[in-house]
Symmetry: C2
Subunit: 231 residues, 2 copies
């Protein structure tokens, strides 16, 4: 693929749009020349927790999970991000090492942007620095609100929350293709796989959802929101 074609692809890039709001085309070119555009397959690891990383990731197409493995190698999903969007928070600014892993949930187009060049721009342009901070904290906020759901609801409510979150915030459509396995939903809801399966089939019996292969339909959003509130 020629450089021109690559640059063409950038024309639709949200990140470029924001960079160019604060910096100029020249600075974007400098950033561009320090950026890798890579294709990842489903299941492939993009950033690994604990690794030193000199890059941050922008996801242009596909979806990824941001996850954390504890001392006992038990995995926990912090959040799911669908392109286009930044994957800040895993490693930006105050950390030498990646706090979390990022793994592709489906085939993805990812740009890895050099962190030092970006930091250099942030140091010369405060407005841009504050805009980057927005990116980082909005991802934190998503995770934190999932954690709050974990912490004060039981499994029914947590899974209802996750389904609503995926439909409204991530995939942004109603019958949506659930790219997470039951095991991954369990790692998101912090419960056992079996509990996810039991809960989903209960939801289906009660007419709240319909689940055909990987396609999930929320049939009764209002009642699902009630389960989220009370469960």
């Amino acid at each position: 693929m020629s450089l021109n074609q690559l640059h063409e692809r950038c024309q639709l890039c949200l990140f470029k749009h924001i960079v160019c709001q604060y910096l100029g085309e020249k600075e974007f070119e400098q950033l561009y020349s320090n950026t890798l555009q890579l294709q990842y397959k489903k299941g492939e690891n993009i950033l690994k927790q604990g690794n030193k990383s000199t890059q941050i990731a922008y996801i242009s197409t596909g979806s990824v999970k941001i996850h954390y493995a504890n001392e006992n190698h038990k995995d926990l999903i912090m959040t799911v991000v669908k392109g286009p969007g930044m994957l800040g928070g895993a490693n930006v600014f105050n950390e030498e090492l990646n706090m979390f892993s990022v793994t592709a949930l489906e085939d993805c187009q990812i740009c890895l942007i050099d962190l030092n060049v970006l930091k250099g721009f942030a140091l010369t342009n405060s407005a841009f620095a504050l805009r980057l901070l927005d990116f980082v904290s909005s991802m934190f906020k998503d995770s934190i609100f999932n954690f709050i759901s974990l912490a004060n609801k039981q499994v029914n409510g947590r899974i209802a929350d996750i389904l609503i979150y995926l439909s409204k915030k991530v995939y942004k459509r109603n019958p949506f293709v659930l790219t997470l396995t039951r095991k991954e939903i369990a790692e998101f809801a912090a419960c056992s796989q079996e509990n996810v399966i039991h809960t989903l089939s209960r939801f289906e019996k009660e007419g709240l959802i319909k689940n055909d292969k990987k396609l999930l339909t929320i049939l009764d959003m209002e009642r699902l929101i009630l389960v989220s509130k009370n469960g």
Copy 2:
């Protein structure tokens, strides 16, 4: 109290120290003239979730909890902070409204610093902006690691984690005065009050801790860490 005495108290202030690393004494004076120094009693609310806030808080003495109430008015403690330190994260930068409440766990000395003046400085001095970002994200990090403990451990491990965290990171001593009630520990560990009580008395029977009134002693840190890992 005269202005001179107030300024004297600032000599020991960590926040002033950091401000003066990046800005000058003049800028600190400007900040100072837009700062309120207030005394809060145990149980008093300092910042309220959902309120508009034009200030961020610096805690010079005492300790506070940062907490969140959900739709059902169930409270969840995100983290505990002991002075001196910043209470960033509740409202800094990207939020109009406070995301969380801050409430005094014991009598506190708090400085409320004008957010707009601070933002003004951040906009003219990127290094200072990035330093502020450090403050914010380090508080997020503490909360997130507590949430990770919640999400992949059972109550035994969660309460062990909380005791270790309070002793090592918050109060920084071993026999420490537990300023949280059992109900508040439950709101921190995301479980029922009774479960906290059962668990603490089990820990005491097993010789892990000693609990006399409000004074808590960790007798066997190594075994407590084991409980945190396996529990």
